[in-house]
Amino acid sequence: METIKHIFTDEWRYWQRTKLGITVLLIGLVLTLAAVVVNTMNIQQAAFERKQLQETAEARFVDQPDRHPHRMVHYGHYVFRTPSQLSTVEPGVDAYTGTSIFLEGHRQNSAIFADQRQSSGMTRFSSLSPSFLLQILAPLFVIIVGFASVTREKEAGTLNIMITQGLSLSQLFVGKYLALFCGSLLFILPVGIASIFATLNGEATVITLGFFVGYCFYMAVWCGVVIGISSLFNKSSASFASSISMWVLLCILVPRIGSSTAAAIEPSQGKLEADFAVLEALRKLGDGHNAQDPAFAALKANLLAQYDADDVSELPVNFRGVVAQYSEQKLTDVLNRFAEARMDTELAQTQVSRWFGWLSPTVAIRTFSMAMAGTNIETHHRFLREAEILRFDFVQSLNKVHADHLDYNHDVNRYKNEDTATAAKVDASHWQVLSSFSFAPAPTMDRIQQSLSAATQLLFWVLLTVGFLVVAIRRVKP
């Protein structure tokens, strides 16, 4: 133990003396800290803005004057997605997905206003998000600090001396490894602070802790790779070139190759094209605006029989409202079926790119981190689904108002003159049917479940690194 401690402090002293190590460590720390601060401010700003817009949208809806209820179905509503707590560290897909959806009758719209479209376009490769720094740049810093940890001793001949003095190789490795690992912890320190903040703001401790531990594992893998490579070579320059090649391969190449492969072998149809099939299916359902559409003949016959009436005008309910309710239900079933199919293909595509986590720890940590933070594509899908639930809910509530509170005869004569137009309106108090919307990422257990496969990949990398180190120790030729 004493020896390990000795090697540990020696390593730190070396970084201090040569300046390079300590400079890189400090640069890394300052960068992550700056990234966390800037990103937290941006996210909080966005969260505030979207919350305000959400409140405005809700207030405007209930403030609408007396109207025909179907006007309100088309007036519609906007929902805004508020970012999750941990998106201060891992913004994930937030900038690439629309943050708002327009909800209206008979249609499912796509999410609009992705931030990336409003940016300068300079952040397509790099971004100031802490996750980019940790996943891509931190390994590079670890390499620059640690590439010579073993080769240096070989080049100076000190490795031989240490061994002849009775130092065991494993002690040497553990000491060097711990020194490098503790150095790399400096990079994740700001993330730890941000995680504590997120916990204080209501994020589950399991999530923030798991999130932090995930990044520790990732750093552990890279430290192992660097020490292992360093011990395999006799020259620092060779060790350096190999580590950097490894970094280019694992951090930059594999993730992008994964994304290009996913797009190439699992192409997704796109909403626009899928919508044609939706239209085709919808046309069979009949137009809900037209109560005379033959598609509603059975509905009409049933209602007339139920209330023992001869004509729809004698019904105690507004037939036009009933048709609106009926056709919205049918239509939504179709829309949801297609929407689910679309999300499934999109998810299948994502799974292809996530599979590359077996080939690169960077892909694994990214998937893990986004799942834990609730900023992955599943969260976006969750947003789409929740928005749809709200849409269906308020549209059907309005249709119910249409059926129950608006006289059929007033309704059909609504365009005749000013008086009939006024008679075909309902009181504005009915607009209270809108429930308020606030988006939260999936519950803790769901997020943990989503991150399991990526966690497995990370563990696989940890084990692989341990194996690599064991092999490396055996092969050390002093």
Binding site: A57, Q118, T123, F125, S353, Y415
Partner: protein, 430 residues
């Protein structure tokens, strides 16, 4: 002749170092992958547009056959707009995965429709594609660093440095030839798949020449940087790894730090209205019209369309001409917000083009997407062409609605078709 011999000698020397050959081969394989996936993607997009055009046509004919007046015809028919990938798009997908390149619109207020985005999978966009532009802007510098960082120091560490400098007549020429040979090999390995790909997609010779030129210039910039750093006295005593660390520091600064810092500065320098505000404003204007006297709509509408001043009398509480007039008014109300939203995008892009001058990788990326017509400018031009097309549709329908023309499906054969104004617009700025 002696030059040729020098090059031949260095080439043979390099070819004997397996890992250098491996680097060049890796660059070749990566370039093949980048070109292949780019071509696959553009082919998918072409095929998608072809299918969409067909489905769009079938759908419109079908819908039109069920209509009995021009108002409903305009309400129910959608029109496809699209931006085809250029023959060069395979090399630089640019902003095509963030901005939409296909869109269906109808005669309703455009501000309520135009922001709909049929975007690609966001998780894939976040990671980014591995296209040729990425290969030459971000990755190629790393390859140059890996190949050239030990140009001199490597020889020192191998103990041959003094011998080499003593036996050669011109030291500088020796190192230069050695650097040039390696860079040239790397450049050929990267460009070869691109040229083949460009021939396959039928890109114009001028564009191919431009891309080749950019690749060579960017390669030359990094070769010079690597060569110069290694030649500085201060670095002369350093070992290979320290030289490479310094080079990586430079790479980090200009590939990552400058764009990221630039983006942050640009974001705060150019304020933009939030998109949510545009659509909320537009919606209030459109829906509010139902509760306002007709004159409110007509006043606003006639301000921009005075030619219909004597056709605004209403026979019923609902007429299509009034309906489309307040849709138009909705767009007019949101126009100031909407145009400052677009201006903000353009100004940010403009500022980014200045910052790109201090970041060669950024500049390379921007020039590539400009050539490939996949930059923000091209995508904004597509949006402008959608707006123009929507205006054409209005010009087509307004006379039919205001003059109470009797409905006939045949009239709809003359509907304006979307001609891709966006395709003709070449962006000049990098």
């Amino acid at each position: 002749m002696s030059y040729f011999n020098d090059i031949k000698r260095e080439a043979t020397f390099i070819a004997k170092q397996k890992y250098r050959v491996a680097f060049v081969l890796a660059a070749f394989v990566l370039s093949v992958f980048a070109v292949w996936s780019g071509i696959t993607e553009t082919q998918t997009q072409h095929a998608t547009i072809a299918r969409l055009l067909e489905k769009d046509h079938t759908d419109r004919v079908n819908v039109q056959s069920h209509q009995s007046d021009f108002g409903s015809a305009a309400y129910y028919t959608f029109h496809l707009t699209y931006a085809e990938p250029s023959p060069m798009a395979f090399a630089a997908m640019g902003q095509r995965d963030v901005f939409p390149w296909k869109h269906r619109i109808r005669m309703l207020a455009l501000e309520g429709q135009i922001y709909e985005t049929d975007a690609d999978n966001p998780e894939l966009s976040l990671v980014g594609r591995f296209d040729y532009a990425f290969l030459i802007s971000v990755l190629m510098p790393l390859f140059v660093i890996l190949l050239l960082h030990d140009l001199r120091s490597g020889e020192k560490e191998a103990g041959r440095f003094d011998l080499l400098t003593v036996t050669t007549s011109n030291q500088r020429a020796l190192w230069l030839t050695r650097a040039a040979v390696q860079s040239a090999a790397l450049g050929v390995a990267i460009m070869l798949p691109f040229v083949v790909g460009a021939i396959v997609t039928g890109a114009s010779a001028l564009n191919v020449a431009l891309v080749v030129a950019i690749t060579i210039i960017h390669l030359a910039v990094w070769t010079t940087i690597a060569f110069a750093i290694g030649g500085i006295k201060r670095f002369a005593s350093m070992n290979s790894a320290r030289v490479a660390s310094s080079l990586l520091g430079i790479w980090l600064l200009i590939t990552v730090m400058i764009p990221v810092a630039g983006d942050t500065i640009i974001k705060s320098a150019v304020q933009s209205p939030s998109g949510g505000q545009i659509v909320l404003t537009q919606r209030e204007a459109v829906n509010g019209a139902w509760d306002l006297p007709f004159s409110a709509t007509w006043d606003e509408f006639l301000a921009t369309h005075p030619q219909w001043a004597d056709k605004t009398d209403m026979n019923s509480l609902f007429e299509w001409k009034w309906y489309y007039a307040f849709q138009q008014v909705g767009d007019q109300t949101a126009a100031p917000l909407s145009s400052s939203y677009r201006e903000a995008i353009q100004r940010r892009d403009k500022l980014a083009s200045y910052i790109a001058w201090v970041s060669p990788p950024m500049l390379t990326q921007r020039v590539m997407t400009a050539i490939a017509d996949t930059n923000t400018h091209a995508m904004m031009a597509y949006e402008a062409s959608i707006r123009q097309y929507h205006a054409d549709l209005r010009q087509f329908y307004y006379p039919l609605l205001f003059n109470n023309v009797e409905f006939s499906v045949d009239v709809l054969n003359d509907l304006p078709s979307f001609n891709k104004q966006g395709d003709g617009v070449k962006s000049s700025q990098p």
